[in-house]
Symmetry: C2
Subunit: 328 residues, 2 copies
């Protein structure tokens, strides 16, 4: 996908093309074009009054309004994305908290198990604790990955912010021309203003094209990154949970009769092997790249494995759960 | 696994068996037996001073102490699990918050996309929003599943709590016998106390067996439920993320030249099909039961699919993201 530069030749072409359009047209350039919403699942259509997201300070989005564009800290154009990026921060915090609590629970489970004085429970709870702790680490990595994907959304927001003055400038000149035409139709200032408008339109055309390009590219990148992170966390936690189940199988829950000794626990080395297996499986984990075409359906998906080695974080079986939590 | 009832015959057998053991032995019954910790990964061994989990009110667990058993709101025996169950609540809250934020972000993304006035972005962001919203719903279901698994831990804690008075009662009588033997070795009260001790020991033997049985059974059930929930969330979120990637493929990010019209968006029906596919895949999802034996390693795992139908929550493609968030 080659990126074309917006050189002077392009601009000259644009300016001459725009000359043929009427000024009243240029005023409505920023209004959304007609669109087919028959297949949209968005409720309320363009009826924004029923929206509940964000819960911001009563901003009215009803059409293009000069009033609502000026004087706000965030330009109207980037307000929604500004709030969305803030919400992503809450999401990141929630996943970080989940990871932290999971690791704390892992330590507590291990210590509780030791205190029971039951060899089998002590060993299994300790090693299930290691698995849970690593599940918590994956939750934390997921939070960081969402944080990275936020960067792409910020790039869109920054472009939105920088395009706003261009729209404002163009609209302001067009506004002035309209007023002057009514008050002083023969004013010499009109010619100068119309020249200014052409320049502003050219500048804005470039800005709008940049906005479209950045928005599409970065939106794809942001959510490709987030979906990839979702899949990575999911696949790694599946590995861990399945080995966790193996550990639970080592715990004999056949009831003991009062006064009988607890059966001797023989599975310590097997339990350790489960952790080794989990560590190996995590290290061998590779991201799968799904090469969907736009035409493919769920049934006709081709999946290939990327060859690049992707180092998974190691399961530190040498150090204890407690140690990990202390260091955190 | 048949559950044997602790009937009178059993008790009589126990009592006669315990008669042959000395009273000084019975005092150390509650001390943990010797255990092999060579394969344990728990740091610090029995050195509990270095533990960091829970951060409770400085409870000392160094051996059996009558002082530490009385006067606390939670008996010492169930304190650790009591705290662990509280931490699980924090974990549940964190995952609930993550689900809530995810659904809010989904709505915001959809509304932001509509406002861009770019048909392609509007449609793709709306439908990616549906996917994200469902990922959030899965996060919420996960939180509820952890809540369910907490119930098993509570059963252990309740048994721990009920066993504590039995241990205390036995220890108190043994203590009294020791004191009386030193002060009045010929006291007639000694015979009565020794009879009481035998009864207390019998009662405690049953209680300890119940504790062992409940602890092993419920510990397995608690974490089998939690690992199953981890796998379910992971597999369903993988389905959603992969279909989310398909949606992103429908967004053409080839740069546009300033002044050129945006390419007409032709993928609305395909995007809708992706959501239908995601809905179908979620509905068809089945839990896989891994039948590991205690001897199996990661390489020799047999996996079978359970036949029972497990209804997945439906992706409501008919209603919008906004509507969902409003109802929540």
């Amino acid at each position: 996908m080659p990126r074309r530069s917006f050189d002077d030749a392009n601009l000259m072409r644009l300016i001459s093309r725009r000359r043929s359009s009427s000024h009243s047209d240029s005023l409505t350039d920023t209004a959304p074009p007609h669109r087919n919403r028959a297949f949209s699942i968005r409720s309320g259509g363009s009826n924004k009054g029923s929206s509940s997201g964000g819960g911001g300070g009563g901003s009215k989005m009803g059409g293009f309004s000069l009033n609502s564009l000026r004087g706000s800290v965030q330009p109207e154009l980037s307000k929604k994305l500004f709030r969305l990026i803030k919400s992503e921060n809450n999401l990141i915090n929630a996943h970080e908290a989940a990871g932290r609590e999971r690791i704390s629970i892992a330590t507590q489970l291990s210590e509780w198990g030791e205190q029971t004085g039951d060899d089998a429970i002590s060993d299994v709870s300790d090693k299930v604790g290691v698995i849970l702790s690593e599940i918590g680490e994956q939750e934390d990595s997921y939070a960081h990955a969402i944080d990275d994907s936020r960067g792409y959304l910020k790039a869109i927001r920054n472009t939105e912010k920088s395009v706003q003055p261009s729209r404002d400038g163009k609209a302001k000149i067009a506004d002035e021309i309209q007023r002057l035409k009514l008050k002083e139709p023969e004013s010499a200032k009109l010619v100068v203003l119309e020249q200014e408008l052409v320049r502003a339109e050219a500048e804005n055309l470039v800005a709008e094209a940049q906005l479209t390009n950045i928005t599409r590219q970065k939106l794809k990148e942001a959510y490709e990154a987030e979906f990839a992170a979702t899949i990575e966390r999911a696949e790694k936690q599946i590995i861990l949970a399945k080995h966790g189940r193996r550990l639970l199988q080592l715990l004999d829950d056949t009831p003991v009769v009062p006064g009988d000794a607890k059966p001797v626990y023989h599975h310590a080395s097997q339990a350790r092997q489960v952790l080794n297996d989990a560590e190996d499986d995590l290290r061998d984990w590779q991201p799968e790249a799904d090469h969907y075409t736009a035409e493919s359906t769920g049934a006709a998906v081709t999946t290939t494995t990327e060859e690049e080695t992707n180092k998974a974080p190691e399961l530190n079986v040498e150090e204890g759960v407690t140690e990990k939590a202390t260091a955190a």
